[in-house]
C-alpha cells in the first residue's frame, strides 16, 4: 500500500470516532467537521514524514481540537462579541473531557451521537442517508451524488439543508441514559437499513454505481455492533445486510435484468459474507430476545443455507414471516409471506392470504406481480394477465417492467396452446 492509500484508509477508519469526539467538544457540526478536515490535512504531511501514530484517532482528535480552538478564537476576534464568554469557558471544560476520552472511555456515545443526529425526525429519509454518508462515512459530495444518481450541485444543496436543520435541533450532549441510548440505537439501526436499501433496491443498470451504499451500510453496522457487542438486534442487522449483499453478484444478468432468487447462480454468492452472516445470526439466537432484524436475517439465512432452490425450507420461512407480522404488522410483510405460503402450502392458500390486501396495496408493483404469478400457477390466465398489466403500469424501474413482461410472454405462449409440457 502506498503512503497515500494507507493514510486514506487510516483517516476513513478513524473518522467516526474523531468527528464524534470533536462534535462533543465543539458542539457544532460545522466546526467539528472543519477541525477534522484540518487535522486530516496535517496528517497527510506528518504521517508521511514520521510514519503512522500509534492511535490515529487520538492523534486526529488532539490536532483537530487545537485547530478548532484556533478557528473559534479567530472567529471571535473578527466578530468581536464582547459578552460572549460562553464559548471560551466551554472550551476549558471540554479540554479535560478530551483528555479523558484519550483514555478510551466515551467514544461509544460519541459515535452513536454522531449517527443519531443524522436521524433527525424532520429530515427526509434521503436527507438522513446523505448526511450520514457525508459526515460519518466521509464520502465526498461527488461520491454521494453519484450513488443517488443526482447532480453534485443538487446533492450539495440537500446536504447543506440537512445540516442547517440539524444545527437548529437540540442535541443533548451529556451521556445518554440506558433508555435514551437504546432509543438512539434503534433510530440509527433504522437509518443504516435505509442506506442499505437505497443501494439494494437499485436496478440492474445502476447496481454497480449504488453498491457502495450497501458496503457503507455494512461498515456502519459492523461499527455499531463493535460498540454494542451484546445487542442481538445489532447482530441481526449486520447478519441481514451481509446475507442480502452476499447475493449481489447473482441478482442481475448481463443485460441488467433481475434474476429471481430461485434462478440465481448460487456459486456466485459470496461465501465469506454468508459465513459471517450465519455466525452472527447463530450468536443472536442464543440471546432468546427476538426482533425484526433477527427474524429477517433468519429468513435470509434459510435462503443462503439452501444449496439448491428446492432445498429451501419454505415452511420455516412461512413461520418466520408469521412472527415478523406479529412484530411489525404490514401488508408488505404479508405479501412476502404469501410467496413462502405458495411454496409451502400452494398457490390457492397464498392467493387467499393476499386478496384482503388489495385496498392497501393498490399502487404497489409487487402486489400485482405476486398476484399475477399466483393466478398463473392456478391456470387463471386471463386474471393473471390483468394483474401483470397493472404491475407493468406501476413498475418503478425498467428492470421490474421487463421481468413482468417475461411472465406475460410465457402466458402468451401458453395461450397459443403450444405448451411443451413434455420438453
Amino acid at each position: 500500500m502506498n503512503d497515500e492509500a494507507w493514510i486514506d484508509a487510516a483517516l476513513t477508519s478513524a473518522r467516526p470516532q474523531a468527528v464524534g469526539a470533536l462534535l462533543r467538544y465543539f458542539r457544532d457540526l460545522d466546526t467539528a467537521e472543519e477541525a477534522f478536515q484540518n487535522a486530516s490535512l496535517r496528517a497527510l504531511k506528518s504521517w508521511q514524514q514520521n510514519g503512522p501514530p500509534r492511535d490515529p484517532a487520538a492523534w486526529l482528535i488532539m490536532v483537530g481540537r487545537n485547530a478548532g480552538i484556533d478557528e473559534v478564537r479567530r472567529r471571535r476576534k473578527q466578530e468581536a462579541l464582547p459578552d460572549d464568554d460562553q464559548a471560551i469557558s466551554d472550551l476549558g471544560d471540554a479540554e479535560e473531557e478530551v483528555a479523558e476520552r484519550l483514555d478510551g472511555s466515551h467514544y461509544r456515545d460519541d459515535i452513536l451521537r454522531l449517527l443519531f443526529i443524522c436521524c433527525h425526525p424532520e429530515l427526509q429519509p434521503t436527507q438522513q442517508i446523505a448526511l450520514a454518508l457525508r459526515i460519518v462515512s466521509g464520502l465526498s459530495v461527488k461520491q454521494i451524488a453519484r450513488a443517488f444518481l443526482v447532480s453534485e450541485a443538487a446533492m450539495e444543496q440537500r446536504i447543506t439543508r440537512a445540516k442547517a436543520r440539524v444545527a437548529d435541533a437540540d442535541v443533548p450532549f451529556e451521556a445518554p441514559g440506558a433508555v435514551e441510548r437504546s432509543q438512539r440505537l434503534a433510530s440509527v439501526a433504522a437509518m443504516i437499513y435505509l442506506i442499505f436499501n437505497e443501494g439494494y433496491s437499485a436496478s440492474g443498470d445502476t447496481a454497480d454505481i449504488r453498491k457502495p451504499l450497501c458496503e457503507e451500510a455494512i461498515r456502519l453496522s459492523r461499527l455499531l455492533l463493535r460498540l454494542f457487542p451484546a445487542e442481538p438486534e445489532m447482530m441481526g442487522l449486520l447478519a441481514l445486510l451481509l446475507l442480502q449483499h452476499a447475493r449481489a453478484a447473482a441478482r442481475f444478468d448481463a443485460e441488467g435484468s433481475i434474476v429471481l432468487l430461485e434462478d440465481q447462480d448460487r456459486s456466485l454468492w459470496n461465501k465469506t459474507m454468508i459465513a459471517e452472516g450465519l455466525a452472527l445470526i447463530d450468536k443472536a439466537m442464543r440471546h432468546r430476545a427476538s426482533g425484526p432484524y433477527q427474524v429477517q436475517a433468519a429468513i435470509a439465512a434459510l435462503h443462503c443455507r439452501a444449496e439448491k432452490p428446492e432445498d429451501t425450507d419454505w415452511t420455516q420461512i412461512d413461520l418466520l414471516y408469521g412472527a415478523l407480522e406479529l412484530m411489525q404488522p404490514s401488508p408488505v410483510i404479508t405479501l412476502n409471506r404469501a410467496v413462502a405460503v405458495s411454496k409451502a402450502r400452494g398457490a390457492e392458500a397464498a392467493l387467499a392470504m393476499i386478496e384482503p390486501l388489495e385496498a392497501r396495496l393498490s399502487n404497489y408493483f409487487h402486489f400485482f406481480g405476486v398476484r399475477g404469478a399466483l393466478l398463473m400457477q392456478l391456470g387463471r390466465n386471463d386474471e393473471a394477465r390483468t394483474a401483470f398489466d397493472r404491475a407493468i403500469a406501476l413498475a418503478n424501474t425498467s428492470a421490474e417492467a421487463a421481468h413482468i413482461r417475461m411472465h406475460l410472454d410465457r402466458l402468451m405462449r401458453d395461450a397459443k396452446g403450444g405448451d411443451k409440457a413434455g420438453r
Binding site: A5, A9, T12, R54, D55, R222, L223, P229, K283
Partner: protein, 122 residues
C-alpha cells in the same frame, strides 16, 4: 520446529481497505505462501472473520458465554500461519517476507508446543 505466526492489526483499518487493495494483498501473500509450500514448510493458514462475529466462553463454573473477542485490544488477532522453521531467525525471515507483502500491524512469532493437524477439515 513449528512456529505459529499470529497476525495482529486494527480490524477497522483493514475493513476500510478497498476490495481491490484487499485482493492485491491476498495475491502478494499467496506468493510468499506458495514459496513455503514448495519447500514443504507451510502448515494450516487461517484468516479470521471480524471480532464482531466472535463469541468467548469463560471457563468458570458454570462456563460463561460472552459476545465478542476474549480481549478488547487496539489491534485484533486476524489470522495465523503455521510454518516449519529451523530456528527463530528463519521464522523472523518468514514473518519479514509476509510483512513485506502486507505491511502494517504486527506478527507475533510463537513456537508451537503440540501440533495436531487433524486433517478432517478441508
Amino acid at each position: 520446529m513449528l512456529y505459529a505466526i499470529l497476525c495482529y492489526h486494527d480490524e477497522d483499518f483493514v475493513g476500510s481497505w478497498s476490495k481491490e487493495h484487499d485482493a492485491d494483498v491476498m495475491a502478494k501473500l499467496a506468493v510468499v505462501q506458495e514459496k513455503l509450500t514448495k519447500q514443504g514448510r507451510l502448515g494450516p493458514v487461517a484468516r479470521l472473520l471480524p471480532t464482531t462475529a466472535a463469541t468467548t466462553l469463560r471457563k468458570e463454573n458454570p462456563p460463561l458465554v460472552l459476545d465478542g473477542p476474549y480481549a478488547e485490544t487496539k489491534e485484533q488477532l486476524l489470522g495465523f500461519y503455521i510454518v516449519d522453521c529451523k530456528n527463530l531467525d528463519e521464522a523472523v525471515e518468514v514473518a519479514r517476507d509476509l510483512g513485506a507483502a502486507n505491511p502494517g500491524g504486527a506478527y507475533e512469532i510463537r513456537p508451537v508446543g503440540l501440533f495436531a493437524p487433524g486433517g478432517a477439515v478441508k
